[in-house]
């Protein structure tokens, strides 16, 4: 999912950086330090979660979990994903200064969009929640793969087929990600429902 440094054109890099700055500014403005600590530790949990390799048939893929992150954090997913990517670039050198804006936007924007659109479904019990959580997980990955493919294709027409292949390779991941999101969300509703109210505002998701 990570695009390497030195591949994309200046226009795409600039656009990605500008959009990430806006998203992060919105996300940070809604957080006070009390909630910021929760975002930091949840971002660490997602960083660890994204290192999990799950077998899918003969291959295996790692979870991305941006959908679940969006469902819990809402707009705060932007700074959380940005920080997780910064740490990935420091610890594993995936991505760097110039491409981090594009990569962060590609992963965070679909997650926030899913949160905004599917939020009403998630708060209803039963089938609606299952469907909402599945869409949240699957569509966030689909959106991220699509945006990644578009960034490549807009850089140079020559990347078009490679971008198409990249998107198709993510289809099984979308399904698995949707399933894992459904199960994680239903677990959270049973065990710690206030965690899913975190994005609702300063009153939601407070510790008792």
């Amino acid at each position: 999912m990570h695009i390497s440094e030195g591949v994309l054109s200046a226009a795409i890099l600039g656009l990605g950086a500008a959009l990430t700055v806006c998203g992060t500014a919105i996300g940070l403005r809604r957080l006070d330090y009390d909630r910021l600590m929760t975002v930091a530790i949840l971002a660490a949990a997602f960083f660890v979660g994204s290192l999990i390799h799950i077998p899918i048939g003969p291959a295996s893929a790692h979870l991305i979990l941006n959908g679940l992150l969006g469902a819990i954090l809402g707009w705060a997913a932007f700074p959380a994903i940005l920080v997780a990517l910064m740490l990935q670039s420091v610890l594993f050198q995936y991505g760097g200064f110039t491409v981090i804006g594009v990569n962060a936007f590609n992963m965070a924007f679909p997650a926030v969009l899913c949160f905004l659109l599917l939020r009403p479904l998630l708060s209803r019990p039963g089938r609606m929640r299952t469907a909402g959580a599945f869409c949240c997980g699957a569509l966030s990955v689909a959106g991220a793969a699509l945006l990644t493919a578009v960034s490549l294709a807009w850089t140079d027409q020559g990347f078009l087929q490679a971008a198409r292949l990249l998107f198709l390779a993510h289809v099984p991941v979308m399904v698995v990600e949707g399933i894992v999101t459904v199960l994680a969300v239903s677990f959270l509703y049973k065990v710690r429902p206030e965690l899913l109210l975190f994005a609702a505002g300063p009153e939601g998701g407070r510790h008792a």
Binding site: S4, E5, G6, V7, A10, L13, T24, L28, L31, Y33, L36, M37, T38, A40, I41, L42, A43, A44, A45, F47, V48, G49, I52, I54, P55, L63, L68, I72, P79, V83, A84, M86, L87, S89, V90, L91, F92, Q93, G96, F97, T98, V99, Q157, G158, F159, Q161, A162, V176, I179, V180, T181, V182, L183, A184, V185, F187, L188, V191, L195, H207
Partner: protein, 255 residues
């Protein structure tokens, strides 16, 4: 689990001010990302190799990291030359590689590795807390730096917790396979890690409030730029400007 093998050393690069290193790596990355001439990109890669050699990294880990990061580049090499339309240079059975495709990926390979090696030399030669504080002094928003520092701090704790849960599941006979049972178990374990993390964040914040936290870090890290930092910054900027000139006026360099 997440060791930083390049962070500690006694090379001349490790002695430079972290703020200067971050700023110089940033400027270099942005300039190299804009290059369009393979010759200029090649010169950038050469410059990156020189600065990396000066930072004296452990070779074994270096090769491993560089190979892993280049997986995406290998993917491009395997797809783009074969799928991009253009003048054929090589035909293997039904597959034809185009000249345009090879040129596009070759340029990306040079630029990508030039930026990567510079990043390894200048940025990964400091540990993450130092980087967080340096970013703060360079003007990054303090909430973002707070997030960065605490995410890093709890990464190790939460990775240990995940390992503990996974070990417990394995002891009960759990093995990763394709199927609902695996996905359900992973989903539940993951949610359990999130619940624990959420509870932990509440405890940590209360502990910080008890110690008088008011939304501001009193850092004990002091950065001091010295003469060698200024010298390095000047040389590095001149070299980077040279690369940009070489890209803008390629004729002037190859008469």
């Amino acid at each position: 689990m997440f060791d930083e093998p390049f962070a500690h050393g006694s090379s001349p690069v490790h002695g430079l001010d972290p703020r200067v290193r971050l700023a110089m790596a940033g400027i270099f990355s942005v300039c190299v990302a804009m290059l369009r001439e393979p010759a200029a990109a090649g010169a950038a890669l050469l410059l990156a190799v020189v600065i990396l050699a000066l930072s004296a990294p452990p070779m074994k880990q270096l090769c491993k990291r560089v190979a892993l990061v280049n997986v995406f580049i290998v993917f491009l090499w395997l797809t783009v030359p074969l799928t991009m339309p253009g003048a054929p240079v090589l035909t293997l059975g039904p597959l034809t590689a185009s000249r345009e495709g090879v040129e596009l990926v070759w340029l990306a390979t040079l630029k990508s590795n030039a930026i990567l090696l510079t990043f390894l030399a200048l940025v990964t030669s400091m540990d993450s807390p130092t980087m967080g504080h340096a970013l703060n002094r360079l003007g990054a928003p303090s909430k973002l730096v707070f997030l960065f520092l605490f995410t890093y701090r709890y990464l190790h704790v939460i990775a240990d917790e995940w390992q503990r849960l996974l070990t417990a599941a394995r002891l009960r006979g759990f093995a990763l396979r394709t199927g609902m049972h695996t996905y359900r178990t992973i989903g539940n374990l993951l949610a359990m890690v999130l619940v624990n993390s959420f509870d932990r964040s509440g405890r940590v914040y209360q502990a910080m409030l008890l110690r008088g936290f008011q939304g501001r870090f009193a850092s004990v890290v002091r950065f001091k730029a010295r003469r060698q930092d200024a010298l390095f910054a000047a040389l590095w900027l001149i070299a980077t400007a040279g690369l940009v000139l070489m890209d803008l006026f390629p004729e002037a360099f190859f008469v």
